[in-house]
Symmetry: C2
Subunit: 272 residues, 2 copies
């Protein structure tokens, strides 16, 4: 076994949305190696119950642990909302979710103390962002809204369509009218729709991309635990999914900006 | 063990869309008892690979067989597209999918021989309707189109919104302009959007609801195998799902027209 700090970082998501977090980790931490697990056979996690999402998250983590990772990054807002505490309690390694980094960035950048949060139904129903923001700033006002059509619109690739703007207005106008000055994009798919979302809010509302903030938190935690990879040696990132739908390649390219990785298939029978 | 014909009919779907088929079976065959299995923890099947959908379909069928059913109804277009033959070969009881009944209805009602088929990505990629229609009428011209946003729109309950009509136009105008006179609603969710879909096609295009046609086929097959339930005795329909998302009740009411059944939760660990 090599030095513990030379082991890879494990990242999981319900599908491929977590690749936005991977892209940011690669950008901010180019020396680190990544093992990615996307549970594409059972995606999406967004509309499912906390019990089911927690069970899936444990199975996803077990898979990454068998790949000898030094840290778990829960690159899925829904799983982060309901399962990070359970994973942290269960496993003896650092677990980083996407909620706390996004909440921290929101609190530190709001001027008016009015923060909007958008996400899947599971994330919003959990009130995870409200709770995380409340712990950091008791006076902050948080307005949350689930946007169930954003993920299918992003996966359809309809990022610049008029109809996407109409739907964005439907979902987001109440937040804009409430006077939020910061909005957390609380789903890894949403940065793909950033242009359209920005059109609804205008230039004076800051959009928080949790992928960026999460990668920063990963860097900090690696430092705190002295787990930074030593220089030297080739990196071999690995990507595993539980299903390869026929549009996978197209979607993965959209998320990783054209750099399509090699992807291996894992049977869900090997989980659990 | 009671008389074989008094056993229930087993129906499965990736989620609750199959309840449209259940509602039709209850209407056409009020003496029959139903055991329904909805794989809500792993839905949707639409964007997933044939291999994964077949594996899930086998697990769903095994669950129904443990409930002593006399027939399997695959009330999911995606699963019907890729798994009915595998299930028929593997199990020694009648297996009814939704594809053949829809194809049959389309062929018998088209005047111009131009048939439109809409469905999920999995259903359309499989070309199952084209093949089934081609077997019945070699001269029929079939134009297929996947409509990935229709399921989330139906589940969001946006059945009458302007934006839904805009999206429907985007998907369906090429079929309308090609001159189809029959359109198969090749997904159990789509009848919920029938009003909007009808607005795009106008009154001279017939929309085929596969739920109705499938229930008729179930009736025929029960007759052919002498499996009709004898009169008398109370019916106790049973509904099982692998997850209960928080919007489940609302959605189930939309599908069953207000008659919400008792629903029991099954762990996916009990499958497979």
């Amino acid at each position: 076994m090599s030095n513990a700090s030379n082991r890879p970082i494990g990242v999981f998501d319900s599908g491929i949305g977590g690749l936005t977090v991977v892209a940011e980790i690669m950008r901010q931490l180019p020396r680190e190696e990544i093992v990615y697990f996307g549970d594409t056979a059972r995606l999406p996690y967004g509309p499912k119950s906390p019990e089911t999402v927690t069970q899936f998250s444990i199975e996803d983590t077990e898979f990454l642990l068998r790949n000898d990772v030094k840290m778990i990054v829960v690159a899925c807002n829904t799983a982060s909302s309901v399962a990070v505490d359970a994973l942290s309690a269960r496993y003896d390694l650092p677990v980083v979710g996407v909620i706390r980094p996004g909440a921290l960035a929101a609190v530190s950048s709001t001027l008016r103390g009015k923060i909007g949060v958008i996400g899947t139904e599971g994330t919003i129903a959990s009130r995870a962002y409200s709770k995380a923001i409340g712990k950091l700033d008791r006076d902050a006002e948080v307005i949350e809204r689930s946007c169930p059509l954003f993920v299918p619109l992003a996966e359809e690739g309809w990022t610049d369509r008029e109809v996407t703007l109409v739907i964005a207005h439907e979902y987001l106008t109440p937040l804009r009218d409430a006077g939020v000055d910061v909005v957390v994009l609380g789903c890894t798919h949403y940065p793909i729709l950033k242009g359209t979302i920005g059109k609804v809010f205008g230039p004076n509302v800051r959009l928080i991309d949790s992928a960026e903030e999460t990668a920063s938190e990963v860097a900090e935690r690696l430092g705190a635990f002295s787990l930074e990879r030593e220089a030297g040696g080739d990196l071999e990132h690995r990507f595993y999914v539980t299903d390869v739908p026929h549009r996978f390649r197209e979607q993965a390219e959209r998320f990783l900006g054209g750099r399509l990785p090699r992807v291996d298939l894992v049977s869900i029978d090997e989980l659990g």
